[in-house]
């Protein structure tokens, strides 16, 4: 499963994208965040305030409870400030 990061989430994690293979039982976006936070300080830092970081699955905004099944690309980013 491909993960992509933007803005300060990208800076804190220190990469633009990566491919991960989470273990069984990681079923939702919230599960994935919890699992990533266990992988290292940089993820801990990026997700220190989980409520702030937004997620999208295959280019569509999703909530933390969204299922990962079938997802090709999962994105994490701060609240948007375009326009």
């Amino acid at each position: 499963m491909k993960l992509v990061y933007f803005a300060w989430v990208r800076e804190r994690i220190g990469k633009t994208e990566e491919t991960v293979e989470p273990p069984e039982g990681i079923a939702t976006v919230a599960d994935l965040v919890r699992w990533l936070k266990g992988k290292g300080e940089e993820y801990e830092y990026a997700f220190e305030n989980e409520a702030v970081v937004r997620a999208a699955i295959d280019h569509v905004h999703v909530k933390p409870e969204a299922p990962l099944a079938g997802a090709r690309e999962i994105a994490f980013f701060p609240p948007m400030t375009g326009g």
């Binding site: 992509v4 933007f6 803005a7 300060w8 999208a56 280019h59 569509v60 905004h61 994105a75 980013f77 701060p78 609240p79 948007m80 400030t81 375009g82 326009g83």
Partner: protein, 152 residues
């Protein structure tokens, strides 16, 4: 009606876009063109850096545009959002809405801007006059509130 959506680093020409939208049509009574500019924040800023999520930016703006088309009888809708380094005084975003009557054009353009601000995957970072790269711009609660008023 098919909305024209472009994500680009180059400047745009609002007048040319309006001309394209209105060319040869006798049914358009009103166009509203919103242009967003990079401010210098009291001289503090040398530029804004705009990062975006390619693919999702286009897709999300298309979803917002479809919502606008469902709500108002639009005869044209153009959205151009720039990315990259943008200097004070330069344009960032154009939303252009056309309809038979003014109210639909005004409301659709304002709706598009409110949703662009809170849902389109773009992030701004400040580059300061002293040469340093400043902070990522924080999302404003007032933008969420502006988006909220269109629901319900």
């Amino acid at each position: 009606m098919v909305a024209a959506i472009r994500i680009q680093s180059e400047p745009f020409d609002a007048a040319a876009e309006t001309a394209v939208l209105a060319a040869g049509r006798g049914d358009i009574g009103a166009t509203v063109a919103f242009t967003g500019f990079c401010r210098d924040e009291g001289g503090r800023l040398s530029a804004l850096e705009l990062e975006h999520y390619p693919g999702m930016a286009e897709a999300e703006i298309a979803r917002i545009a479809h919502e606008a088309e469902a709500r108002w009888p639009l005869m044209g809708l153009t959205v151009i959002h720039r990315f990259g380094l943008i200097r004070p005084g330069e344009t960032i975003v154009l939303v252009l809405a056309a309809s038979a009557h003014r109210r639909a054009a005004f409301e659709a353009a304002e709706f598009m801007m409110d949703y662009l601000k809170t849902r389109a995957p773009f992030w701004k970072r400040e580059h300061l006059k002293d040469g340093t790269v400043g902070a990522w711009v924080e999302a404003k609660g007032s933008d969420d509130a502006a988006t909220e008023r269109w629901s319900g």
